[in-house]
Amino acid sequence: MTETWLLRNLRAVKGRAYPRVIGSSREPSWVIFDVLLPLLTVAAYAYIYKFMKAPEEFVGFVILGGAMTAFWLNILWSMASQLYWEKEIGNLSLYLMAPISRMSILAGMAVGGLFETTLRAVSTLVIGIAVFGIALSLSNPVMLIIVFIVTMVALYGMGMMFASLYLLFGREAYHMSSLMTEPIYLASGFYFPVKALGFWAAAGASIIPITLGLDALRQLFYPSTRSEYGFLPMGTELLVLSILCVLFILLSKLSLDYMEKLGKTSGRLTLRWQ
Protein backbone atom coordinates (compact mmCIF):
# COMPACT_ATOMS: atom_id res chain seq x y z
CA MET A 1 0.00 0.00 0.00
CA THR A 2 1.74 3.20 -1.12
CA GLU A 3 1.25 6.73 0.12
CA THR A 4 -0.17 7.66 -3.30
CA TRP A 5 -2.69 4.83 -3.11
CA LEU A 6 -3.77 5.92 0.37
CA LEU A 7 -4.04 9.58 -0.63
CA ARG A 8 -6.03 8.73 -3.74
CA ASN A 9 -8.48 6.68 -1.71
CA LEU A 10 -8.81 9.32 1.00
CA ARG A 11 -9.58 11.85 -1.71
CA ALA A 12 -12.15 9.45 -3.13
CA VAL A 13 -13.81 9.21 0.30
CA LYS A 14 -13.90 13.00 0.48
CA GLY A 15 -15.24 13.28 -3.06
CA ARG A 16 -18.06 10.78 -2.51
CA ALA A 17 -18.96 12.21 0.90
CA TYR A 18 -19.25 15.73 -0.51
CA PRO A 19 -22.68 15.47 -2.23
CA ARG A 20 -24.24 14.24 1.01
CA VAL A 21 -22.55 16.84 3.17
CA ILE A 22 -23.51 19.69 0.85
CA GLY A 23 -26.97 18.19 0.29
CA SER A 24 -28.10 19.18 3.78
CA SER A 25 -27.74 22.87 2.99
CA ARG A 26 -29.04 22.61 -0.59
CA GLU A 27 -32.31 20.87 0.24
CA PRO A 28 -33.63 22.26 3.53
CA SER A 29 -36.91 20.36 3.10
CA TRP A 30 -35.25 17.60 5.18
CA VAL A 31 -36.19 19.57 8.30
CA ILE A 32 -39.85 18.76 7.63
CA PHE A 33 -39.50 15.21 6.37
CA ASP A 34 -36.64 13.97 8.52
CA VAL A 35 -37.14 15.90 11.77
CA LEU A 36 -40.68 17.15 12.21
CA LEU A 37 -42.51 14.11 10.82
CA PRO A 38 -40.52 11.54 12.88
CA LEU A 39 -41.21 13.71 15.92
CA LEU A 40 -44.92 12.99 15.46
CA THR A 41 -44.29 9.28 16.06
CA VAL A 42 -42.05 10.11 19.01
CA ALA A 43 -44.81 12.37 20.38
CA ALA A 44 -47.38 9.59 20.11
CA TYR A 45 -45.26 7.23 22.22
CA ALA A 46 -44.34 10.02 24.62
CA TYR A 47 -48.01 10.81 25.24
CA ILE A 48 -48.81 7.14 25.77
CA TYR A 49 -46.09 6.90 28.43
CA LYS A 50 -47.25 10.16 30.02
CA PHE A 51 -50.86 9.00 30.04
CA MET A 52 -49.84 5.69 31.63
CA LYS A 53 -47.78 7.64 34.18
CA ALA A 54 -44.70 5.60 33.24
CA PRO A 55 -41.36 6.71 34.76
CA GLU A 56 -40.23 10.03 33.24
CA GLU A 57 -37.14 8.40 31.77
CA PHE A 58 -39.38 6.56 29.30
CA VAL A 59 -40.09 9.77 27.40
CA GLY A 60 -36.32 10.28 27.19
CA PHE A 61 -35.93 6.70 25.95
CA VAL A 62 -38.44 7.41 23.19
CA ILE A 63 -36.78 10.65 22.12
CA LEU A 64 -33.38 8.93 21.98
CA GLY A 65 -34.95 6.12 19.95
CA GLY A 66 -36.64 8.65 17.67
CA ALA A 67 -33.32 10.38 17.05
CA MET A 68 -31.70 7.05 16.23
CA THR A 69 -34.41 6.15 13.68
CA ALA A 70 -32.79 8.73 11.39
CA PHE A 71 -29.66 6.58 11.24
CA TRP A 72 -31.58 3.39 10.54
CA LEU A 73 -33.58 5.05 7.76
CA ASN A 74 -30.36 6.46 6.34
CA ILE A 75 -28.85 2.97 6.31
CA LEU A 76 -31.84 1.48 4.51
CA TRP A 77 -32.64 4.19 2.01
CA SER A 78 -29.37 6.01 1.45
CA MET A 79 -26.77 3.32 2.01
CA ALA A 80 -28.25 -0.10 1.27
CA SER A 81 -30.05 0.80 -1.94
CA GLN A 82 -27.54 3.45 -2.99
CA LEU A 83 -25.28 1.38 -5.25
CA TYR A 84 -28.36 0.09 -7.04
CA TRP A 85 -29.46 3.67 -7.74
CA GLU A 86 -25.91 4.63 -8.68
CA LYS A 87 -26.10 1.87 -11.28
CA GLU A 88 -29.41 3.20 -12.58
CA ILE A 89 -28.13 6.75 -13.03
CA GLY A 90 -24.86 5.58 -14.55
CA ASN A 91 -22.45 6.51 -11.76
CA LEU A 92 -21.60 2.96 -10.75
CA SER A 93 -19.59 2.20 -13.89
CA LEU A 94 -17.62 5.41 -13.37
CA TYR A 95 -16.85 4.40 -9.79
CA LEU A 96 -15.85 0.90 -10.85
CA MET A 97 -13.61 2.23 -13.60
CA ALA A 98 -11.72 4.58 -11.26
CA PRO A 99 -8.33 3.47 -9.90
CA ILE A 100 -9.54 3.25 -6.31
CA SER A 101 -10.73 0.68 -3.81
CA ARG A 102 -14.48 0.22 -4.00
CA MET A 103 -14.46 0.47 -0.21
CA SER A 104 -13.52 4.13 -0.46
CA ILE A 105 -16.73 4.80 -2.39
CA LEU A 106 -18.75 2.99 0.27
CA ALA A 107 -16.80 4.76 3.01
CA GLY A 108 -17.49 8.12 1.33
CA MET A 109 -21.20 7.32 1.22
CA ALA A 110 -21.06 6.33 4.90
CA VAL A 111 -19.13 9.42 6.05
CA GLY A 112 -21.43 11.74 4.10
CA GLY A 113 -24.52 9.89 5.31
CA LEU A 114 -23.30 9.96 8.90
CA PHE A 115 -22.74 13.71 8.71
CA GLU A 116 -26.14 14.56 7.26
CA THR A 117 -27.96 12.10 9.52
CA THR A 118 -26.23 13.29 12.68
CA LEU A 119 -27.59 16.75 11.86
CA ARG A 120 -31.09 15.28 11.60
CA ALA A 121 -30.74 13.16 14.74
CA VAL A 122 -29.41 16.03 16.83
CA SER A 123 -32.26 18.25 15.59
CA THR A 124 -34.81 15.59 16.61
CA LEU A 125 -33.14 15.23 20.00
CA VAL A 126 -32.98 18.97 20.71
CA ILE A 127 -36.58 19.65 19.60
CA GLY A 128 -37.83 16.56 21.48
CA ILE A 129 -36.06 17.61 24.69
CA ALA A 130 -37.41 21.16 24.34
CA VAL A 131 -41.00 20.12 23.60
CA PHE A 132 -41.31 17.46 26.30
CA GLY A 133 -39.08 19.18 28.82
CA ILE A 134 -37.09 16.09 29.72
CA ALA A 135 -33.91 16.13 31.77
CA LEU A 136 -30.90 14.05 30.78
CA SER A 137 -28.25 13.20 33.35
CA LEU A 138 -25.23 12.34 31.25
CA SER A 139 -22.78 10.46 33.45
CA ASN A 140 -19.80 9.89 31.18
CA PRO A 141 -19.45 12.09 28.06
CA VAL A 142 -16.23 10.38 26.90
CA MET A 143 -17.94 6.99 27.02
CA LEU A 144 -20.92 8.50 25.19
CA ILE A 145 -18.67 9.60 22.33
CA ILE A 146 -16.96 6.19 22.20
CA VAL A 147 -20.28 4.29 22.21
CA PHE A 148 -21.71 6.57 19.54
CA ILE A 149 -18.67 6.22 17.26
CA VAL A 150 -18.44 2.43 17.64
CA THR A 151 -22.20 2.08 17.05
CA MET A 152 -22.01 4.21 13.93
CA VAL A 153 -18.99 2.37 12.51
CA ALA A 154 -20.79 -0.96 13.04
CA LEU A 155 -24.07 0.38 11.69
CA TYR A 156 -22.55 1.98 8.58
CA GLY A 157 -20.40 -1.13 8.12
CA MET A 158 -23.68 -3.02 7.95
CA GLY A 159 -24.99 -0.43 5.49
CA MET A 160 -21.89 -0.93 3.31
CA MET A 161 -22.50 -4.67 3.33
CA PHE A 162 -26.17 -4.18 2.41
CA ALA A 163 -25.15 -1.79 -0.38
CA SER A 164 -23.23 -4.47 -2.21
CA LEU A 165 -25.77 -7.21 -1.49
CA TYR A 166 -28.62 -5.01 -2.77
CA LEU A 167 -26.98 -5.01 -6.19
CA LEU A 168 -28.19 -8.61 -6.36
CA PHE A 169 -31.78 -7.68 -5.68
CA GLY A 170 -32.12 -4.93 -8.29
CA ARG A 171 -35.48 -3.23 -8.16
CA GLU A 172 -36.66 -5.50 -5.34
CA ALA A 173 -34.30 -3.53 -3.11
CA TYR A 174 -37.17 -1.18 -2.33
CA HIS A 175 -39.19 -4.03 -0.86
CA MET A 176 -36.24 -5.21 1.19
CA SER A 177 -35.87 -1.77 2.73
CA SER A 178 -39.59 -1.54 3.44
CA LEU A 179 -39.45 -4.96 5.02
CA MET A 180 -36.66 -3.93 7.33
CA THR A 181 -38.14 -0.66 8.56
CA GLU A 182 -40.92 -1.28 11.10
CA PRO A 183 -39.77 -4.78 12.19
CA ILE A 184 -36.41 -3.35 13.20
CA TYR A 185 -38.11 -0.48 15.05
CA LEU A 186 -39.73 -3.22 17.12
CA ALA A 187 -36.81 -5.64 17.40
CA SER A 188 -34.22 -2.99 18.25
CA GLY A 189 -36.43 -1.30 20.84
CA PHE A 190 -36.53 2.16 19.29
CA TYR A 191 -39.48 3.19 21.48
CA PHE A 192 -38.94 1.02 24.58
CA PRO A 193 -36.02 -0.66 26.38
CA VAL A 194 -35.04 -3.72 24.35
CA LYS A 195 -34.79 -5.73 27.56
CA ALA A 196 -38.60 -5.92 27.46
CA LEU A 197 -38.38 -8.39 24.56
CA GLY A 198 -36.68 -10.99 26.77
CA PHE A 199 -33.04 -12.08 26.66
CA TRP A 200 -33.00 -14.26 23.55
CA ALA A 201 -35.10 -11.97 21.38
CA ALA A 202 -32.98 -8.98 22.40
CA ALA A 203 -29.79 -11.00 21.85
CA GLY A 204 -31.00 -11.92 18.37
CA ALA A 205 -31.85 -8.29 17.61
CA SER A 206 -28.33 -7.31 18.68
CA ILE A 207 -27.03 -8.28 15.25
CA ILE A 208 -28.44 -4.87 14.28
CA PRO A 209 -25.81 -2.57 15.84
CA ILE A 210 -28.36 0.08 16.70
CA THR A 211 -29.98 -2.30 19.27
CA LEU A 212 -27.00 -2.39 21.60
CA GLY A 213 -25.88 1.13 20.66
CA LEU A 214 -29.23 2.60 21.63
CA ASP A 215 -29.38 0.55 24.84
CA ALA A 216 -25.88 1.74 25.79
CA LEU A 217 -26.77 5.39 25.05
CA ARG A 218 -29.87 5.09 27.24
CA GLN A 219 -27.75 3.66 30.04
CA LEU A 220 -25.36 6.59 29.70
CA PHE A 221 -28.10 9.23 29.64
CA TYR A 222 -30.05 7.60 32.47
CA PRO A 223 -27.47 5.82 34.68
CA SER A 224 -29.98 5.36 37.50
CA THR A 225 -32.14 3.09 35.31
CA ARG A 226 -29.19 0.96 34.16
CA SER A 227 -29.87 -2.08 36.36
CA GLU A 228 -33.61 -2.07 35.79
CA TYR A 229 -33.84 -1.34 32.04
CA GLY A 230 -30.35 -1.91 30.62
CA PHE A 231 -30.03 -5.07 28.53
CA LEU A 232 -26.34 -5.99 28.99
CA PRO A 233 -23.49 -4.36 30.92
CA MET A 234 -22.18 -1.44 28.87
CA GLY A 235 -18.69 -2.95 28.54
CA THR A 236 -20.20 -6.10 27.01
CA GLU A 237 -22.31 -4.06 24.63
CA LEU A 238 -19.25 -2.08 23.55
CA LEU A 239 -17.30 -5.29 22.99
CA VAL A 240 -20.07 -6.83 20.85
CA LEU A 241 -20.39 -3.60 18.87
CA SER A 242 -16.63 -3.58 18.25
CA ILE A 243 -16.83 -7.15 16.95
CA LEU A 244 -19.73 -6.15 14.69
CA CYS A 245 -17.62 -3.26 13.32
CA VAL A 246 -14.92 -5.64 12.13
CA LEU A 247 -17.40 -8.27 10.97
CA PHE A 248 -19.56 -5.96 8.85
CA ILE A 249 -16.69 -4.07 7.26
CA LEU A 250 -15.00 -7.36 6.38
CA LEU A 251 -18.24 -8.79 5.01
CA SER A 252 -18.92 -5.64 3.00
CA LYS A 253 -15.47 -5.92 1.39
CA LEU A 254 -16.01 -9.60 0.58
CA SER A 255 -19.52 -9.10 -0.79
CA LEU A 256 -18.51 -6.10 -2.90
CA ASP A 257 -15.57 -8.00 -4.39
CA TYR A 258 -17.89 -10.92 -5.11
CA MET A 259 -20.53 -8.68 -6.68
CA GLU A 260 -17.97 -6.93 -8.86
CA LYS A 261 -16.59 -10.25 -10.10
CA LEU A 262 -20.09 -11.56 -10.73
CA GLY A 263 -21.05 -8.35 -12.52
CA LYS A 264 -17.99 -8.38 -14.76
CA THR A 265 -18.62 -11.99 -15.68
CA SER A 266 -22.36 -11.78 -16.27
CA GLY A 267 -22.28 -8.27 -17.71
CA ARG A 268 -25.21 -7.15 -15.57
CA LEU A 269 -23.47 -4.84 -13.14
CA THR A 270 -23.43 -1.86 -15.44
CA LEU A 271 -26.67 -2.60 -17.27
CA ARG A 272 -29.43 -0.24 -16.29
CA TRP A 273 -33.08 -1.10 -15.70
CA GLN A 274 -32.37 -4.65 -14.53
Partner: protein, 329 residues
Protein backbone atom coordinates in the same frame (compact mmCIF):
# COMPACT_ATOMS: atom_id res chain seq x y z
CA UNK B 1 4.81 3.45 -15.28
CA UNK B 2 3.22 2.97 -18.69
CA UNK B 3 4.75 0.52 -21.09
CA UNK B 4 5.73 2.82 -23.96
CA UNK B 5 6.69 0.08 -26.40
CA UNK B 6 3.28 -1.49 -26.10
CA UNK B 7 0.35 -0.37 -28.25
CA UNK B 8 -2.40 1.64 -26.57
CA UNK B 9 -4.90 -1.15 -27.23
CA UNK B 10 -4.39 -4.69 -28.43
CA UNK B 11 -6.95 -7.46 -28.61
CA UNK B 12 -6.39 -11.05 -29.60
CA UNK B 13 -9.37 -13.20 -30.63
CA UNK B 14 -11.47 -11.21 -28.18
CA UNK B 15 -14.89 -12.80 -27.77
CA UNK B 16 -17.77 -11.91 -25.52
CA UNK B 17 -20.93 -13.97 -25.26
CA UNK B 18 -23.90 -12.85 -23.16
CA UNK B 19 -25.93 -15.71 -21.77
CA UNK B 20 -29.53 -15.12 -20.70
CA UNK B 21 -30.19 -15.24 -16.97
CA UNK B 22 -32.93 -17.80 -17.54
CA UNK B 23 -33.37 -20.13 -20.51
CA UNK B 24 -36.79 -18.73 -21.33
CA UNK B 25 -35.25 -15.25 -21.78
CA UNK B 26 -33.81 -16.31 -25.14
CA UNK B 27 -30.60 -17.43 -26.75
CA UNK B 28 -27.01 -16.48 -26.06
CA UNK B 29 -25.79 -13.40 -27.91
CA UNK B 30 -22.27 -13.15 -29.28
CA UNK B 31 -21.51 -9.46 -28.91
CA UNK B 32 -17.85 -9.77 -29.94
CA UNK B 33 -16.55 -12.52 -32.15
CA UNK B 34 -12.76 -13.08 -32.31
CA UNK B 35 -11.86 -9.40 -32.52
CA UNK B 36 -8.22 -8.65 -33.33
CA UNK B 37 -7.36 -5.00 -33.05
CA UNK B 38 -4.20 -2.98 -32.56
CA UNK B 39 -4.29 0.72 -31.81
CA UNK B 40 -0.99 2.55 -31.54
CA UNK B 41 -0.27 5.33 -29.09
CA UNK B 42 -1.12 8.77 -30.39
CA UNK B 43 -3.93 7.55 -32.63
CA UNK B 44 -7.42 8.92 -32.84
CA UNK B 45 -9.04 5.66 -33.74
CA UNK B 46 -12.66 5.22 -34.76
CA UNK B 47 -14.88 2.21 -34.26
CA UNK B 48 -17.76 2.54 -36.64
CA UNK B 49 -20.82 0.35 -36.61
CA UNK B 50 -24.58 0.33 -36.22
CA UNK B 51 -26.39 0.00 -32.90
CA UNK B 52 -25.81 -3.46 -31.43
CA UNK B 53 -22.64 -4.05 -33.45
CA UNK B 54 -20.51 -4.64 -30.33
CA UNK B 55 -18.86 -1.22 -29.95
CA UNK B 56 -19.95 -0.58 -26.37
CA UNK B 57 -19.16 -4.16 -25.34
CA UNK B 58 -15.62 -3.70 -26.62
CA UNK B 59 -15.25 -0.44 -24.69
CA UNK B 60 -16.62 -2.01 -21.52
CA UNK B 61 -14.01 -4.76 -21.74
CA UNK B 62 -11.22 -2.30 -22.43
CA UNK B 63 -12.32 -0.11 -19.53
CA UNK B 64 -12.30 -3.13 -17.15
CA UNK B 65 -16.06 -3.15 -16.58
CA UNK B 66 -16.61 -6.48 -18.29
CA UNK B 67 -14.57 -9.65 -18.67
CA UNK B 68 -14.09 -11.30 -22.04
CA UNK B 69 -15.54 -14.78 -22.51
CA UNK B 70 -12.35 -15.76 -24.33
CA UNK B 71 -9.38 -14.08 -25.93
CA UNK B 72 -7.19 -11.30 -24.56
CA UNK B 73 -7.33 -7.54 -24.33
CA UNK B 74 -4.45 -5.27 -23.37
CA UNK B 75 -4.60 -1.58 -22.61
CA UNK B 76 -1.25 0.27 -22.39
CA UNK B 77 0.32 -3.18 -22.29
CA UNK B 78 -1.68 -4.37 -19.29
CA UNK B 79 -4.10 -7.29 -19.36
CA UNK B 80 -7.58 -5.92 -18.63
CA UNK B 81 -8.57 -9.11 -16.80
CA UNK B 82 -5.52 -9.41 -14.56
CA UNK B 83 -3.91 -5.98 -14.26
CA UNK B 84 -7.14 -3.98 -14.14
CA UNK B 85 -5.86 -1.57 -11.47
CA UNK B 86 -2.93 -0.60 -13.74
CA UNK B 87 -5.33 -0.15 -16.65
CA UNK B 88 -7.68 2.02 -14.59
CA UNK B 89 -4.89 4.47 -13.71
CA UNK B 90 -4.39 5.19 -17.39
CA UNK B 91 -7.89 5.44 -18.81
CA UNK B 92 -11.15 7.32 -18.67
CA UNK B 93 -14.38 6.87 -20.53
CA UNK B 94 -17.29 9.08 -21.55
CA UNK B 95 -20.55 7.77 -22.98
CA UNK B 96 -23.08 9.68 -25.00
CA UNK B 97 -26.29 10.46 -23.15
CA UNK B 98 -24.88 9.58 -19.75
CA UNK B 99 -26.44 11.30 -16.75
CA UNK B 100 -23.60 10.83 -14.32
CA UNK B 101 -23.11 12.88 -11.20
CA UNK B 102 -25.57 14.48 -8.85
CA UNK B 103 -28.15 17.08 -9.81
CA UNK B 104 -27.82 19.07 -6.62
CA UNK B 105 -24.11 19.73 -7.20
CA UNK B 106 -22.89 22.58 -9.36
CA UNK B 107 -21.08 21.76 -12.60
CA UNK B 108 -17.75 22.64 -11.01
CA UNK B 109 -18.43 20.57 -7.88
CA UNK B 110 -19.57 17.60 -9.93
CA UNK B 111 -16.42 17.62 -12.03
CA UNK B 112 -14.28 18.12 -8.94
CA UNK B 113 -15.92 15.09 -7.30
CA UNK B 114 -14.92 12.82 -10.19
CA UNK B 115 -11.32 14.12 -10.14
CA UNK B 116 -11.08 12.99 -6.52
CA UNK B 117 -11.56 9.39 -7.62
CA UNK B 118 -8.34 9.79 -9.60
CA UNK B 119 -6.50 11.31 -6.63
CA UNK B 120 -6.08 14.78 -8.13
CA UNK B 121 -5.18 17.61 -5.76
CA UNK B 122 -8.16 19.93 -5.45
CA UNK B 123 -6.25 23.05 -6.49
CA UNK B 124 -4.89 21.37 -9.63
CA UNK B 125 -8.27 19.83 -10.44
CA UNK B 126 -10.21 23.07 -10.06
CA UNK B 127 -7.72 24.98 -12.22
CA UNK B 128 -8.01 22.33 -14.91
CA UNK B 129 -11.81 22.28 -14.64
CA UNK B 130 -12.04 26.06 -15.02
CA UNK B 131 -9.82 25.98 -18.11
CA UNK B 132 -11.84 23.23 -19.74
CA UNK B 133 -15.16 24.86 -18.91
CA UNK B 134 -13.85 27.99 -20.57
CA UNK B 135 -12.70 26.05 -23.67
CA UNK B 136 -16.08 24.35 -23.97
CA UNK B 137 -17.93 27.65 -23.60
CA UNK B 138 -19.34 26.61 -20.23
CA UNK B 139 -17.57 29.11 -17.95
CA UNK B 140 -20.86 30.87 -17.19
CA UNK B 141 -22.42 27.56 -16.14
CA UNK B 142 -19.81 26.47 -13.63
CA UNK B 143 -21.87 27.46 -10.60
CA UNK B 144 -25.18 26.25 -12.04
CA UNK B 145 -26.66 23.08 -10.59
CA UNK B 146 -26.21 20.05 -12.86
CA UNK B 147 -29.97 19.40 -12.93
CA UNK B 148 -30.55 22.75 -14.65
CA UNK B 149 -28.31 21.96 -17.65
CA UNK B 150 -29.60 21.23 -21.13
CA UNK B 151 -28.70 17.91 -22.81
CA UNK B 152 -25.90 19.52 -24.80
CA UNK B 153 -24.45 21.32 -21.79
CA UNK B 154 -24.63 18.14 -19.76
CA UNK B 155 -22.79 16.18 -22.43
CA UNK B 156 -20.10 18.85 -22.65
CA UNK B 157 -19.68 18.48 -18.89
CA UNK B 158 -19.40 14.70 -19.30
CA UNK B 159 -16.74 15.10 -21.97
CA UNK B 160 -14.83 17.48 -19.69
CA UNK B 161 -15.02 14.80 -16.99
CA UNK B 162 -13.19 12.44 -19.34
CA UNK B 163 -10.42 14.88 -20.24
CA UNK B 164 -9.88 16.51 -16.87
CA UNK B 165 -8.04 13.53 -15.38
CA UNK B 166 -5.59 13.63 -18.31
CA UNK B 167 -5.82 9.91 -19.14
CA UNK B 168 -3.29 8.23 -21.44
CA UNK B 169 -6.12 6.52 -23.27
CA UNK B 170 -9.60 7.96 -23.52
CA UNK B 171 -12.60 5.90 -24.58
CA UNK B 172 -15.40 7.96 -26.06
CA UNK B 173 -18.59 5.99 -26.63
CA UNK B 174 -20.84 7.95 -29.00
CA UNK B 175 -19.85 11.25 -27.35
CA UNK B 176 -22.02 13.41 -29.62
CA UNK B 177 -25.10 11.19 -29.55
CA UNK B 178 -28.26 13.26 -29.83
CA UNK B 179 -26.49 16.61 -29.67
CA UNK B 180 -27.13 19.66 -31.83
CA UNK B 181 -24.63 20.76 -34.46
CA UNK B 182 -22.93 23.38 -32.30
CA UNK B 183 -22.43 21.19 -29.24
CA UNK B 184 -21.15 18.35 -31.46
CA UNK B 185 -18.71 20.66 -33.20
CA UNK B 186 -17.26 21.98 -29.93
CA UNK B 187 -16.72 18.43 -28.68
CA UNK B 188 -15.24 17.17 -31.96
CA UNK B 189 -12.89 20.14 -32.25
CA UNK B 190 -11.58 19.58 -28.75
CA UNK B 191 -11.01 15.86 -29.31
CA UNK B 192 -8.93 16.57 -32.42
CA UNK B 193 -7.00 19.35 -30.69
CA UNK B 194 -6.28 17.16 -27.64
CA UNK B 195 -4.72 14.37 -29.65
CA UNK B 196 -2.86 16.76 -31.95
CA UNK B 197 -1.21 18.64 -29.11
CA UNK B 198 -0.47 15.56 -27.02
CA UNK B 199 1.13 12.96 -29.29
CA UNK B 200 1.40 10.39 -26.49
CA UNK B 201 -2.37 10.35 -25.89
CA UNK B 202 -4.80 7.97 -27.57
CA UNK B 203 -8.51 8.25 -28.22
CA UNK B 204 -10.75 5.35 -29.15
CA UNK B 205 -14.01 6.77 -30.40
CA UNK B 206 -17.06 4.73 -31.15
CA UNK B 207 -19.74 6.26 -33.30
CA UNK B 208 -22.44 5.43 -35.75
CA UNK B 209 -22.08 8.85 -37.38
CA UNK B 210 -20.10 8.20 -40.57
CA UNK B 211 -19.06 11.81 -41.03
CA UNK B 212 -17.76 11.98 -37.48
CA UNK B 213 -15.48 8.99 -37.98
CA UNK B 214 -14.40 10.31 -41.40
CA UNK B 215 -13.66 13.78 -40.10
CA UNK B 216 -11.91 12.90 -36.83
CA UNK B 217 -10.18 9.57 -37.09
CA UNK B 218 -6.79 8.64 -38.49
CA UNK B 219 -7.92 5.04 -38.76
CA UNK B 220 -11.31 3.44 -38.62
CA UNK B 221 -12.45 -0.10 -37.93
CA UNK B 222 -15.86 -1.11 -39.24
CA UNK B 223 -17.66 -3.48 -36.90
CA UNK B 224 -20.89 -5.38 -37.40
CA UNK B 225 -22.36 -8.35 -35.52
CA UNK B 226 -19.33 -8.40 -33.25
CA UNK B 227 -16.82 -8.81 -36.07
CA UNK B 228 -14.29 -6.33 -37.45
CA UNK B 229 -14.97 -6.16 -41.17
CA UNK B 230 -12.26 -3.73 -42.17
CA UNK B 231 -9.66 -1.51 -40.53
CA UNK B 232 -7.75 1.22 -42.31
CA UNK B 233 -7.58 4.97 -42.87
CA UNK B 234 -10.87 6.51 -44.06
CA UNK B 235 -9.22 7.27 -47.43
CA UNK B 236 -8.10 3.67 -47.95
CA UNK B 237 -11.48 2.34 -46.88
CA UNK B 238 -13.20 4.59 -49.38
CA UNK B 239 -10.88 3.29 -52.11
CA UNK B 240 -12.59 -0.07 -51.61
CA UNK B 241 -15.66 1.40 -53.29
CA UNK B 242 -13.84 3.76 -55.65
CA UNK B 243 -14.42 1.46 -58.61
CA UNK B 244 -18.13 1.56 -57.96
CA UNK B 245 -20.54 4.40 -58.68
CA UNK B 246 -22.53 5.91 -55.85
CA UNK B 247 -25.98 7.16 -56.77
CA UNK B 248 -28.47 8.94 -54.52
CA UNK B 249 -32.05 9.43 -55.65
CA UNK B 250 -34.81 11.17 -53.68
CA UNK B 251 -38.33 10.16 -54.74
CA UNK B 252 -41.85 10.53 -53.44
CA UNK B 253 -42.70 7.79 -50.95
CA UNK B 254 -42.07 4.47 -52.66
CA UNK B 255 -43.90 1.43 -51.26
CA UNK B 256 -42.41 -1.49 -53.15
CA UNK B 257 -38.66 -1.24 -53.54
CA UNK B 258 -37.95 -4.88 -54.24
CA UNK B 259 -37.70 -4.56 -58.06
CA UNK B 260 -34.80 -2.11 -57.61
CA UNK B 261 -32.71 -4.84 -56.05
CA UNK B 262 -32.87 -7.07 -59.08
CA UNK B 263 -31.73 -4.53 -61.70
CA UNK B 264 -28.52 -5.71 -63.38
CA UNK B 265 -25.52 -3.58 -62.37
CA UNK B 266 -26.87 -2.75 -58.90
CA UNK B 267 -24.31 -4.03 -56.43
CA UNK B 268 -25.93 -2.85 -53.21
CA UNK B 269 -29.01 -0.82 -52.44
CA UNK B 270 -30.37 0.87 -49.28
CA UNK B 271 -33.19 3.29 -48.59
CA UNK B 272 -34.80 5.41 -45.89
CA UNK B 273 -38.48 6.34 -45.80
CA UNK B 274 -39.73 9.60 -44.33
CA UNK B 275 -43.54 9.35 -44.41
CA UNK B 276 -43.90 12.78 -42.76
CA UNK B 277 -42.21 14.43 -45.75
CA UNK B 278 -43.58 11.87 -48.24
CA UNK B 279 -39.98 11.13 -49.19
CA UNK B 280 -37.92 8.02 -49.89
CA UNK B 281 -34.15 8.36 -50.18
CA UNK B 282 -32.57 5.63 -52.27
CA UNK B 283 -28.88 4.91 -52.24
CA UNK B 284 -27.19 2.66 -54.79
CA UNK B 285 -23.71 1.20 -55.19
CA UNK B 286 -23.47 0.45 -58.92
CA UNK B 287 -21.05 -1.82 -60.71
CA UNK B 288 -22.13 -0.36 -63.99
CA UNK B 289 -23.36 3.19 -64.63
CA UNK B 290 -25.65 1.93 -67.36
CA UNK B 291 -27.90 0.68 -64.58
CA UNK B 292 -28.97 4.31 -63.94
CA UNK B 293 -31.46 4.37 -66.83
CA UNK B 294 -33.01 1.08 -65.67
CA UNK B 295 -33.34 2.41 -62.12
CA UNK B 296 -35.01 5.61 -63.34
CA UNK B 297 -37.38 3.59 -65.55
CA UNK B 298 -38.31 1.31 -62.67
CA UNK B 299 -39.05 4.28 -60.38
CA UNK B 300 -41.17 6.01 -63.02
CA UNK B 301 -42.95 2.72 -63.72
CA UNK B 302 -43.80 2.34 -60.01
CA UNK B 303 -45.60 5.70 -60.10
CA UNK B 304 -43.19 7.57 -57.82
CA UNK B 305 -41.88 10.97 -58.77
CA UNK B 306 -38.12 11.65 -58.90
CA UNK B 307 -37.26 14.72 -56.79
CA UNK B 308 -33.51 14.61 -57.10
CA UNK B 309 -30.72 12.47 -58.52
CA UNK B 310 -27.00 12.78 -58.04
CA UNK B 311 -23.77 10.86 -58.20
CA UNK B 312 -21.91 11.08 -54.88
CA UNK B 313 -18.33 10.71 -53.69
CA UNK B 314 -17.80 7.45 -51.76
CA UNK B 315 -18.29 7.75 -48.02
CA UNK B 316 -17.67 5.37 -45.15
CA UNK B 317 -21.36 4.55 -45.29
CA UNK B 318 -20.87 3.30 -48.85
CA UNK B 319 -18.02 1.14 -47.61
CA UNK B 320 -20.30 -0.24 -44.93
CA UNK B 321 -23.15 -0.83 -47.39
CA UNK B 322 -20.80 -2.61 -49.75
CA UNK B 323 -19.45 -4.84 -46.98
CA UNK B 324 -22.60 -5.59 -45.06
CA UNK B 325 -25.31 -5.07 -47.61
CA UNK B 326 -27.28 -2.73 -45.37
CA UNK B 327 -27.15 0.82 -44.05
CA UNK B 328 -26.79 1.91 -40.44
CA UNK B 329 -30.37 2.84 -39.70
Amino acid sequence: MSRPMQPAVKTESLTRVFNPKKKREGKSVTALDSVDLRIERGELFGLLGPNGAGKTTLLKILSTLLLPTSGKAYVAGFDVAKDFQEVRKRINMVSGGEISGYGLLTVRENLWMFTQFYGMKSAVALKQIDELLDLFGMADKKNEKVRTLSTGQRQKMNVIRGFVTDPDILFLDEPTLGLDVNASRVIRDYIVEWVKTRPEKTVLLTTHYMAEADQLCGRVAIIDDGRILACDTPENLKKLVKTSTMLKIDVTLLDDKSPLNTIPGVEKFTYTDDPASNLTSLKFVLQDESAVSDIVSEIVHSGAKILGLRKTEPTLEDVFIKMVGKGFE
